[in-house]
Symmetry: C2
Subunit: 419 residues, 2 copies
């Protein structure tokens, strides 16, 4: 553990215990490449949830499951009617994700509670540790839905009725299937503050030699599903000149979208991560391709301009290829700015602990971006190796993770007060 | 039925009965769009096979299943030790295929037998009707494998051990699963001739107003699996300049391959029909894409030149994008020329029946292209609507199908002789 100077500490988190919890959790859905594949609402997600619930109970927390399947572990405060100070993140992962994205923020919250238990400290306001359902949005098209419902951004019905890509089930049905269709209120009550600890998922902290990122906000994001429709045909007999090949059209769109990104400064990120080809047979000219566009930029106005150009580009390619194109906006969020007091609390805790800290923006979306709508919110970033995330090779140093966890304890206790 | 002039007929096929057989078979695996999805060695394929076997037995044929799961219905000849005259095609289909591609050639063979039964005619040489296993090559990467083993082009072990795309099973295991792992010899005995009736799958006959195509041969084909490997990363945080995006690279390759086709005259067909993206998540920069290339041209030398350029193009795009690329040739065949006597027999039968006939080349590969290695072989094409095939909308006129079936009867009987 890199943090050894205890001056000014409220209670010491146990970096080894935090690391062990992370590694124990990472066994559930472990992938051959050293990562984690624990997609939301699968049996593996259920196994991860069950382990977390058992740990919460072991740490003396009162556990409740809300209507969106969020798991909330509550540590009573001396003034238990006061709005809780909340932390948390997500235990679900990408299909070939890393061990730290999400799991760190949940288990850092758990470690804060364990450390306070060890120190025999009780806060004035209660503390709550949350595992938000389906942050990644792999199966149900849109991520951070459960925190979105909690924050009043979406209706409960919308969240529960989200269909998976194959249209065979819904988020609500899958919650019931794994036994996490709880009946506790999903939001709608006051919370004092929300803090989320997370690996940066980008290269800035490592590059700058900083251990803690005080997160100022998150860039705006627009996501689209593009459906390109042409005409199926036999790969051996349909002359090239007569083809309306949906894959060739989609490929030209993806190429154009990538080039479009480099026309702007600062450069946005534009990604096609998901592609579905129909009928997807070597012998057949594809008749339909559905692909995703994920575009992000720190300036909402510029992002809007990029998206107009991106959609125009797709329509232009389709027209040239005799293809039809339908573009649906699947999710999006404006630029997010976190609470100045929460940001300052992170900076102050890092300074008190002697940790190198710098302000950063989040390139990714987080549940915290939803919660900031209803409560003062901040995030604590720690470095991850080479900025690699959403990848089995995602890595983070135990010392950095411990440092971020200690900062989390400090800001939560500062906000909740000691009894 | 369009053919009504019986002058010179040996025995009249029943066009209505042929049509009913086709429609009955098309119910197995019927798709909402009016097509058929009866992929080889699935439960639906088994159901189609079972129906065919029951029809063969009903027509008095002796049925055997060979080591590659080919179903062979045999009608004894007066000289039953003579090499048989064989016809057949395939009952498997594309995932979203049509009702006639393959099934027509099998059921036309059956109708020939039924018509000879009705007329009480016995041929000198025996007749055999074959359903070749897995012509389409949807699941096991390479098509026409079973006829290839029959013709000695592939070893039996190679055919049975072909793995499916997911690597979870083999062709041989799937044959056993559906109960079609027969023990009859797969080839290795003399056959007198092979004829295959098939829809054209191209626009030429319809365009020229011909009912019968006397098929001269088939264009050469080369198939590749291209694996593009980059690096996964978070779609929100990995800067564009640092990305090694396998999907962007693959898209540029596909675009380039399509443009490459138009540089040649006559124009080849180059198709990417199958695309697999890993991890295929909206949120993640793709780390790996595998896609197919299917290139065909009537001139082997030109095809070789096209393939060199295609592979160079892929390597060039990969190098520019910091990507790795591996290209494996998955299947291929040289230009095929059918037997002059068989071609002439088709022309002569059409002329005798008063059917407009023209010579055509096959754009697609067929089992007949394998069988021509070991026996005099010919094909009979009939028009399909707008040349559309490998498509649920594939259509053919009952009269044209009946005409082609009557030609098949004539050429088979001419070859086998009447007792």
């Amino acid at each position: 553990m890199a943090v050894t100077d205890k001056a000014g500490w409220t209670a010491a988190i146990d970096g080894d215990r935090l690391w062990r919890s992370l590694m124990d959790m990472a066994r559930i859905g472990a992938t051959p490449g050293g990562g984690v594949g624990r997609v939301a609402l699968t049996d593996l997600d259920k196994a991860g949830r069950d382990l977390f619930v058992s740990w919460c109970k072991g740490a003396g927390l009162e556990v409740r499951i809300d209507r969106m399947g969020n798991i909330i572990g509550r540590r009573a405060g001396a003034d238990d009617g006061a709005p809780p100070v909340v932390t948390g993140s997500h235990l679900d992962s990408q299909p070939l994700g890393g061990r730290f994205d999400g799991a760190y923020g949940v288990l850092a919250g758990l470690e804060v509670v364990r450390a306070l238990n060890d120190a025999g400290l009780v806060t004035r306001a209660p503390l709550e540790i949350v595992n938000w359902t389906d942050e990644e949005g792999v199966r149900f098209a849109a991520g951070v839905v459960a925190s979105g419902v909690y924050a009043g951004r979406f209706d409960l019905d919308y969240g529960l009725n989200l269909a998976d890509r194959e249209g065979t089930t819904t988020l609500g049905r899958e919650l019931a299937r794994i036994g996490y269709d709880g009946d506790a209120l999903c939001g709608g009550y006051p919370i004092a503050a929300f803090f989320e600890a997370h690996i940066e998922q980008g290269p800035v902290l490592e590059h700058e030699g900083a251990t803690i990122g005080a997160v100022l906000g998150a860039q705006g994001q627009r996501c689209y599903a593009v459906t390109v429709t042409g005409e199926e045909g036999h790969a051996g007999t349909l002359p090239m000149a007569l083809r309306r090949d949906a894959m060739v059209g989609a490929a030209r769109m993806m190429d154009g979208l990538n080039r479009l990104a480099f026309e702007f400064e600062p450069t946005p990120v534009i990604t096609t991560g998901h592609v579905q080809v129909r009928p997807n047979s070597r012998n057949t000219v594809p008749g339909r391709v559905v692909f995703s566009i994920d575009a992000r930029h720190p300036d909402d106005g510029v992002l809007a301009e990029i998206c107009v150009k991106a959609l125009d580009l797709c329509h232009g390619v389709a027209a040239e290829g005799g293809l039809q194109v339908e573009i649906a906006e699947t999710s999006g969020r404006d630029t997010v700015t976190f609470d100045p007091d929460c940001i300052e609390a992170v900076r102050a805790a890092a300074a008190r602990l002697g940790l190198a800290c710098r302000d950063v923006y989040s390139g990714a979306g987080h549940d915290a971006c939803n919660i900031q709508r209803i409560a003062p919110t901040g995030m604590i970033f720690v470095p991850c190796k080479e900025g690699i995330s959403h990848n089995e090779r995602e890595a983070a140093a135990a010392g950095d993770l411990a440092a971020g966890c200690q900062v989390l304890l400090e800001v939560m206790v500062a906000r909740a007060g000691l009894a």
